[in-house]
């Protein structure tokens, strides 16, 4: 554990939809490996945490619901105000299916 080679960097970049150039791939491979090495110290606590539940959120709130009722919201115009392209009141995107 603790190493991220260039092939992995490219794979992760693809998953994260990031385009990296060659020097970035090189740099990230070494920097991310360094970070993974560092976080390896958690292995020292394996015995202590084996039976602990994971904590996702510290204030322990559970099931915070609201009534399922339609309420006033932003207007369509406001929602579209920052869009790069719109079409008849919709967001316009590139086609994702052939």
């Amino acid at each position: 554990m603790g190493k991220m080679d260039k092939k992995q960097v490219l794979h992760i970049a693809k998953l994260a939809q990031l385009k990296l150039n060659l020097s970035e791939v090189e740099k990230f491979s070494s920097q991310l490996s360094e970070t993974l090495d560092y976080v390896g110290i958690l292995g020292e606590l394996d015995k202590k945490v084996r039976n602990l539940p994971p904590t996702a959120q510290a204030t322990n709130l559970k099931n915070v619901f609201r009534e399922d009722k339609v309420k006033p919201s932003l207007s369509q115009e406001e929602v579209l105000a920052n869009a790069s392209a719109t079409y008849k009141g919709y967001f316009k995107t590139k086609a994702i299916f052939e």
């Binding site: 554990m1 991220m4 992995q8 960097v9 992760i12 970049a13 998953l15 994260a16 939809q17 990031l18 385009k19 990296l20 970035e24 990230f28 920097q31 991310l32 360094e34 970070t35 993974l36 560092y38 976080v39 390896g40 110290i41 958690l42 020292e44 606590l45 202590k48 945490v49 602990l52 539940p53 994971p54 904590t55 996702a56 959120q57 510290a58 204030t59 709130l61 915070v64 609201r66 932003l74 406001e78 929602v79 105000a81 920052n82 869009a83 790069s84 967001f91 316009k92 995107t93």
Partner: protein, 471 residues
Amino acid sequence: MELNQLTIKQAQKGLKDKEFSSLELVKSCLARIKKVDKKVKAFITVCEKEAIEQATLIDTTIQRYNDIERLFINFPLLGLPIAIKDNFCTKGIKTTAASKVLENFVPSYDATVVRKLKGRGAIILGKTNMDAWAHGSSTETSDFFTTLNPWDLQRLPGGSSGGSAAAVASEMTIGAVGSETAGSIRQPAAWCGVVGFKPTYGGISRYGLIAMCSSTDCPGSLTKTVEDTEILWKVLEGKDKFDATSTRHTRHDTRDTKFKIGVPKEYFLKEMEKEVKERVWEAIKVLGKLGFNIKQVSLLDPRYSIAVYTIIQRSEVSSNLARYDGVRYGNKRDCFGNEAERRIMLGTYTLSAGYYEAYYQKAQKVRSLICQDFGEVFKKVDLLVAPTSPSVALSVGATKESAMFGELQDVLMEASSLAGLPAINIPCGFTKVGLPVGMQLIGPQFSEELLLSVGKKYEEKTQWYKRKPKL
């Protein structure tokens, strides 16, 4: 004394007693910005026109209103200019998170924090610089420019709320709002010599705060005094229907001085600067003299929290920044800076199939251990006191090429953030060359009232806030 030098408390009184107008106060801050922000570079956007209009309107209201006392009870921040970190959405005012992805983003709504400030009469003075997406502890990762430390322009203000901290320290604003995920309020406050307060997770609504690490993100304040922090906290706190993780607070009592304050020995790191240690120990002696019972305690080695925080933060970042597709708002993903890319990459890795258990889940389990550790120590003491940062402000360029600069800098704040605890940085003196040193008080969840009351006692006794940087 110029009006921009006033604290919130003093400005409030001056406006109420009609010693000056809101317009004069706002103009005094704007004049100070014109004079010193060329050097400090704390603001991304200054809302000059809007602030002047708003102040003029408020002055008319104050003139017309008969029951001034009542007016200021209902609107405690009436006519006061406040600076806002640029990751809080402000309706009609550009909100960038200091990232090129959002360089032209103008929100259609106000963050709850902004809505509450305006609702109580505050005037938005401008939007302050930060590390892009709040990823960092220096403002050097801002995609626009680096803010400089008002005490020494060759040094960094800390971050990510570095613009807000520098704006308060250089008296360009009466007070400011920031956000903290693990040190982003406390550390710049320590380096700039101001008060920085981060409440219990959920104590202030995150609605409209550009999401970074949702399970620890927490709005808070940067002010000249603890007294001012308390005024802002009372306005900002509370449950918000737009943030399901916001919580209502149960109050702690504030018995006078019978409290026990713990000193965690692990927080005085070997590599820590000598003068930082010395100033904090002097502050602890002052707390002892004030009648608090000082007790040495032990906490988990803070180095583990760096690792836990790194994994959890990167994971949540990769998920939160996945929404930037350049379709609904903002520019395309190729506008992310290196720091954001690096964090997205690591988080995508730690959440991906085959690595989830080894990294993300393990980090969450150690997070449980950290929570338990604090739970145990708060059975013995009511509060903790420790240095905020291992060093005073570092020089410009310190972060370059360090993949984990922020995490290492924030070593003394990550554990308390992961456990959702409230904490406050309070200035506790200066080094020989005149750089500010900060100490932090950390309390159990929902102990804000106690933290602030102890902080006020220390502040009243020492009055470090009276010393100002020369610019």
